[in-house]
């Protein structure tokens, strides 16, 4: 058997619907015979009648309704058709879900699934990675699974968590990533994973970029370098300890993210490493992000806009030479 990242997300939702009657799925086109723009809920409406519901094109109300249902004891999963459209639900996510526990002592166990990240030909409004905006505001857990196993166990955990979770699934990984089977247990959220061990340089990454980093590590192994690759798994909470422990071993840090270059995950990682692990660093910590423009539609532009293995390798080599 072989299962994709996308199938893992569907399986997780099937399991959640099966095991917990408080769970329902709410989103555009998730129901019927269709099962979502990416088929992440394919078949679920039929298997779980009345619990996988199509919504109007109303992202604010979709999340608002999920919040209300969660306050009343349900465990809704909201699917955004693309992460980019969560800009419309942002107020509900940040200001309503994100503040509710702190204000009222009543947690809001919603999970908002964001099909994130770039793919060829998707353009400025179907390619965004919004994890940094959600992580900036208090009150939210922000998950960024990079593997089939994490896609599965973290989604199950997301729904179990009493607090609101923004679950950023990467569209590029949907079909590209396969595993042999699904795990029965996952690594807890908040713990980063050492995706590859090394001692010369630490590359910290998350989501699709983990795989670019791994490719670079493989490539540079051929040049005699041992690169440690860390998969953050969740960007909030962010596992500073694992990052620092790795930097303690390697003395060098490169952080790679797919989103825009101002602020965001890479800035947060570098800032933490610099503030808390300054004496561990043998060279200036570096980062690599996408370019500071909207995400281009044309594949030639897109592949130059996002960080890619070539650029990561270049940056890594420069850092290794320092």
């Amino acid at each position: 058997m072989s299962i994709t990242y996308l199938e893992a997300i569907r399986e997780a939702q099937a399991k959640l619907l099966r095991d917990d009657e408080r769970v329902f799925i709410y989103g555009q086109d998730v129901g019927g015979t269709f099962g979502g723009a990416f088929k992440a809920t394919k078949g679920l409406a039929k298997e779980f009648p009345g619990r996988v519901l199509n919504t109007p094109i109303s992202e604010d109300a979709m999340v608002g309704a999920a919040i209300g249902a969660a306050i009343e004891g349900m465990r809704p999963i909201v699917e955004m058709q693309f992460a980019d459209f969560s800009s419309i639900a942002l107020n509900q996510i940040l200001n309503n879900a994100g503040t509710h526990y702190w204000r009222t002592n009543v947690p809001v166990p919603i999970t908002v699934r964001l099909p994130s990240g770039g793919t060829k030909g998707s353009g400025p409004f179907h390619s965004q990675s919004m994890e940094s905006i959600y992580a900036h505001y208090p009150g939210l857990i922000v998950m960024t699974p990079a593997t089939v196993e994490d896609a599965y166990t973290m989604l199950i955990e997301a729904v179990a968590i009493d607090d609101p979770v923004v679950y950023c699934e990467h569209k590029y990984l949907y079909y590209h990533l396969k595993a042999d089977k699904l795990p029965t247990q996952g690594v807890p959220t908040g713990t980063a994973r050492i995706a590859r061990e090394g001692r010369d340089l630490t590359i910290v990454s998350y989501s699709a970029m983990v795989h670019e980093a791994l490719a670079v590590a493989e490539q540079l192994a051929g040049e005699g370098f041992e690169i440690e690759v860390i998969d953050l798994r969740s960007v909030k909470p962010l596992d500073t300890n694992t990052v620092l422990a790795s930097v303690a071993r390697t003395g060098r840090l490169l952080c790679v993210g797919e989103s825009f270059p101002w602020g965001g995950v890479t800035a947060e990682v570098i800032a933490r490493a610099a503030a808390e692990g300054f004496h561990l660093l043998d060279a200036a910590p570096q980062r690599l992000n996408a370019k500071d423009t909207p995400i281009p539609y044309h594949p030639n532009l897109w592949s130059a806009h996002r960080p890619n293995a070539k650029e990561i390798a270049r940056k890594a080599r420069a850092l290794l030479r320092e």
Binding site: S58, M62, G64, G68, P76, V106, P107, T240
Partner: protein, 342 residues
């Protein structure tokens, strides 16, 4: 304004009193008493942040709270003290929140009209207008999922808030989900300083109902019996499984937007409109005209209201405020997942 209101109450006869008229009147009275007191505390510099009152809207609001039962969901907004009280919010919730006691429902973390008790089904509003409609819809969906019966939800909004995208999406999703929701919209003719002509351009906001598949009703919000009749009717219809209900009440906001606002932009002309009457005075005129209770009882009711309010204030004033160094600075409930931010 008092004179105007009385004059008009003679020209425009209020409906015969609704059976819950006096009960509602007492919530109005309690609210007016409470809010006048809060205003004087504010003037005395004893309240941090804003004070927002519902003067002129107590009849609408009381009617909102009165017909709700345990298990119903209530999403009040900033001018709904009467409804909050009628729905069961303890006065102490109000005074503790305004006076900054750490024992209040928001524990000093949020203030004034943002308070709520979601577990008692009184939702805690966020400021962003319109956002609570869909939240109410979701709560009703949950109740249906859980197999509960006989519940409804009632959400309040101002005519200003009706122009938000969130309101539109919330109203539409209520109709799509066919939840038993009543939306009570109060057109108090101002959104802060902005008059209706810069808020919307339709003839009557109740005409919004049909475009969503709601049933719509208009209401003279200065007339308590009419409020009870129409809002009570909407609640009953929602409970009976009719489509969602929109009630649009017409009043004038008889205060500033908040107590920091002298409302000098409110025109003299609008103050002479029939909807500018003070619903409390109108109700009292009805009581007098129809001799519903004698003057002695009325005086006693007033005293009782004052006593309750004074007690709630005195209690809250004695309580300790929150302290920064004792605060549990944690925005999430699952402590294992707290980020190790410095």
């Amino acid at each position: 304004m008092l004179q105007t209101a009385q004059r008009q109450s003679k020209t425009k006869k209020p409906s015969p009193p609704h059976e819950r008229f006096l009960e509602a009147y007492r919530w109005m009275l309690l609210t007016r008493t409470l809010e006048e007191k809060l205003v004087s505390l504010y003037r005395g510099g004893l309240i941090t942040g804003g004070v927002y009152i519902g003067k002129g809207q107590e009849a609408v609001s009381a009617a909102c709270g009165l017909f709700l039962q345990k298990g119903d969901i209530f999403a009040p907004l900033i001018r709904d003290q009467a409804g909050r009280s009628a729905f069961g919010e303890p006065l102490l919730d109000v005074t503790r929140t305004y006076l900054g006691s750490r024992q209040g429902p928001m524990r000093g973390r949020d203030g004034n009209i943002h308070r709520g008790r979601p577990q008692q089904n009184q939702l805690a509003m966020v400021s962003h207008l319109g956002a609570m409609i869909s939240v109410t819809v979701g709560a009703l969906m949950a109740k249906r999922f859980k197999g509960e019966k006989d519940f409804i939800g009632l959400a309040c909004i101002g005519e200003g808030g009706m122009q938000t995208g969130a309101f539109h999406e919330g109203m539409n999703i209520a109709a799509v989900e066919q939840v038993p929701l009543v939306i009570v919209a109060t057109n108090n003719h101002y959104a802060y300083s902005t008059q209706n002509d810069r808020e919307f351009a339709c003839h009557d906001l109740v005409d919004r109902a049909i475009g969503y598949g709601f049933e719509g009703y208009s209401l003279d919000g200065t007339d308590l019996s009419a409020c009870l009749e129409i809002i009570g009717g909407a609640v009953k219809r929602a409970r009976a499984g009719r489509p969602p209900q929109l009630v649009v009440a017409s009043v004038l906001r008889l205060s500033g937007h908040g107590e920091h606002d002298d409302a000098s932009y409110v025109t003299e002309e609008i103050k002479r409109e029939p909807f500018a009457r003070d619903c409390l005075k109108v109700a009292e005129q009805t009581i007098a005209d129809l001799n519903l209770v004698d003057a002695k009882t009325l005086t006693e009711w007033r005293k009782e209201a004052v006593a309750k309010v004074d007690e709630a204030i005195a209690t809250a004033q004695k309580e300790a405020p929150p302290e920064g160094d004792k605060e549990d600075w944690c925005a999430i409930s699952v402590r294992d997942l707290v980020d190790s931010l410095q």
